[in-house]
Symmetry: C2
């Protein structure tokens, strides 16, 4: 027994990809063994090497393809829209819907970056930077036009994306809330946050807060970003 009947290369390749996403999502990249993956597809572990060079490139391919898809679709959705508020709404809606329909891919792309070796990680981080740049540009544009109140566009970008991406930590299709309701809820939080809530003027700590001594601000220096 060697080649199984009805076998087809393209179909197997796709099955491996899907099974890989599923197992990495469920157990993590390090914890997933190639024997496990092969069994899921109905192969012997050695046969997998007809479809990828090694375990690492399997992960990289999954993550890269996902990031490029994410970036491309976001740019497409934003194309032609000028108003910053409208762009922000579109960005939120896109990001949320995309994440709700691709829980596994998104989760992997966010969690397994550390498992990529340096060269591969650099590529993925570059793509992520470009994606973050979309939101940051929206925030800066809105701030310039006076419709947003954003002090630190970079920090706000990280904050908003973290918030929106967090949906894949709890969302499961078929839950109590519809996707539309979820999008509305998150969007309200984001829009409110950047347009400034009602009692926002005195942002200094209120009376109840113990007064923390504000250290003299260090002179501007390059932000050491933890994200590599």
């Amino acid at each position: 027994m060697a080649r199984t009947i009805g076998s087809n290369g393209a179909r197997t390749a796709e099955a491996i990809r899907q099974a890989g996403v599923k197992l990495i999502y469920r157990h993590g990249y390090e914890a997933m063994s190639l024997r496990q993956l092969a069994a899921e597809v109905g192969l012997q572990s050695g046969s997998l090497y007809k479809y990828f060079d090694n375990k690492q490139t399997l992960l990289f391919d999954i993550v890269r393809d996902h990031m490029e898809d994410l970036l491309g679709k976001a740019e497409a959705d934003l194309a032609g829209i000028e108003d910053p508020l409208a762009r922000l709404r579109v960005f939120c809606a896109f990001h949320l819907r995309y994440h709700m329909t691709r829980l596994a891919h998104v989760f992997i792309a966010n969690m397994e970056i550390r498992s990529l070796d340096e060269a591969h990680r650099a590529v993925v981080v570059g793509l992520r930077r470009r994606y973050e740049g979309l939101l940051e540009a929206i925030l800066r544009q809105g701030a310039a036009q006076g419709v947003f109140e954003v002090r630190e566009p970079k920090v706000a970008t990280y904050a908003i994306i973290s918030m929106l991406t967090g949906i894949c930590m709890w969302y499961l299709p078929g839950g109590r809330l519809s996707q539309d309701e979820i999008v509305d809820t998150y969007t309200a939080l984001v829009i409110g946050g950047v347009t400034g809530g009602a009692p926002l003027q005195p942002l200094a700590a209120p009376a109840e807060l113990p007064e923390r001594e504000k250290p003299a601000r260090r002179p501007a220096q390059v932000t050491k970003a933890a994200r590599t």
Copy 2:
């Protein structure tokens, strides 16, 4: 050569704990081998078993202790404060400062829950639920008093915590911004989000958005939460 001079059990136990946090933070739980850990402390791998039963309980101890510390300190900071807005400010400030000073512990607690076996995971998830409950109660209280505009307190809780926790994805001490500035920036986003931004009334999709067909809302049903 056996017992090394100056050796002391308590000191070694603490060194193992710290090295464990460091290595799990850097490489991930699965990727960290006990030989690696032992070498970091200056031991042989077998000696580690004087200090924990197995690799799994080492992870569990680290995560549980961290979660209990987080929960306890949050409750302490909130004690005695009644006003919802003030409580929310305190919660944000506490959460951010705690996370900025314990990057590794927080990262592990969030990323390695999946590596815990079922019984251990249940304990940690329970602690996390209690922590989330603190914020959710604040949001409900504020909504009841009419000072917050929060439609879905549970969703808002997840969203806000995701946003705040996201700080450990980019923050490194010594960066361009002081901790106070970062706390202010994040807090403004949160407060604005829950108090309702200026142009919030017409939350239906604006004209620029392609009209998506709204599916009939499913009858209320138990929310299947992905977080186990």
